[in-house]
Symmetry: C2
Subunit: 231 residues, 2 copies
């Protein structure tokens, strides 16, 4: 199963590409330009190991070749990127959006957010894509700083929102390929209205403490992952 | 230092009253009626121990007698309660609001929220109170179920928002009186726009997993509490 990472040359996407590729997941890094995607893949293999199955290409080719697509782009360019890949996505692709609607998009601090018309960036993405695409939202509390500390295991939990339980479990399966990382089912896609904002909260906490990789971990259960009764 | 708990007969407030009183904090439970406050205090002492310094009275008397006031009321009655205590609060009181603007207030599910005019329930409270009051927002991710499991230590972190660092540290000091509980400085009061919504997220997670006490714990630092450089 190939995973395309749209915006895979950015900090968050690149970090995920290295960590997934290192775990043996076939990763295709997408970028606006084919050459940039290829260059990022070479750099990722330098870190993950030469035999890591990481390749690079343009966003549309990456999207066309994968059943699972992670989209890790800044909110300012999110709609344009989705419009550029929408006709290339496989009809039943699982698309996981990692966008946070940070107020930086309007020149305000990163610990503030704006509210997209549809309620969340993930729902905005869903509004752009064909209705057959299986939309998930996640990865908002994993900082790119933590992702790029490649020698350290990740510590926090990935909260996934989406109305398709199987799609969430597929993205959850990728999460579990990264050592120590767990996923939590946060509910339907509209819960992204709460979860996406956690990026701003992490940035606010980092600002208060001088940290760079604050994250959250769910308590109340020993393990999370796929909820019981939904096997 | 006496702590008033306005709405201390409700699940969240009562749980905090027992746990704080058991740790030796002088607690005054406030209720709409003096007799109900007294009855709740008797019940709290039955659990916390006869020598626990927990008393009960009306909301306005409780508010008048304390430098630190916790307000644990449902969003539907929040504004009315604040209007009823505003003229009784000490001018420089630290007031910690624990309200979550859950959509139950408009007959919708508890994993959904509404957006108060001022951006958050805490900011709505601030708009009602005199400007000298030192407003803090917190306790949104500590479930009343977990609070009421009186034999078990609490597991999660309390995220505190507020623009007055000393006021946050005072509430943080109360948090630390409860064994195993930590507090995290989440930033200015406006961050309540993100943090208050976490109650809805916890409810959504509980709904997915059949749990009743999901909470969150911050990762990225061994200890939290008062941020460095703000001693």
């Amino acid at each position: 199963m190939a995973v395309a990472i749209i915006g895979g040359t950015g900090d968050e996407g690149f970090g995920l590409a290295v960590r997934l590729g290192r775990s043996g997941v076939e990763v295709v890094i997408g970028s606006r330009a084919h050459e940039k995607g290829e260059a990022a893949a070479r750099k990722a293999r330098d870190i993950a190991g030469d035999d890591a199955p990481i390749s690079g290409t343009s966003n549309d080719v990456a999207a066309a070749g994968a059943d699972v697509v992670l989209v890790t782009v800044p909110f300012a360019g999110q709609a344009e990127i989705y419009r550029s890949i929408r006709d290339h996505l496989r009809p039943n692709a699982v698309v996981c959006d990692a966008t946070s609607p940070l107020a930086t998009v309007v020149g305000r601090p990163a610990w503030q957010v704006v509210t997209p018309w549809e309620g969340s960036a993930a729902e905005q993405a869903k509004a752009i894509l064909p209705s057959t695409v299986r939309m998930v939202s996640g990865f908002h509390t994993i900082s790119s700083e933590a992702l790029h500390a490649f020698d350290a295991p990740l510590e926090g939990d990935v909260l996934l929102c989406g109305s398709d339980a199987e799609a969430k479990a597929e993205i959850g399966g990728l999460v579990e390929r990264m050592p120590n990382l767990r996923w939590v089912d946060a509910g339907p896609l509209s819960m992204a209205r709460v979860v996406e904002r956690l990026t701003a909260l992490m940035i606010s906490v980092n600002r208060a403490y001088g940290t760079r990789d604050a994250g959250i971990r769910m308590v109340g259960r020993d393990s999370w992952g796929r909820p019981p009764g939904r096997a």
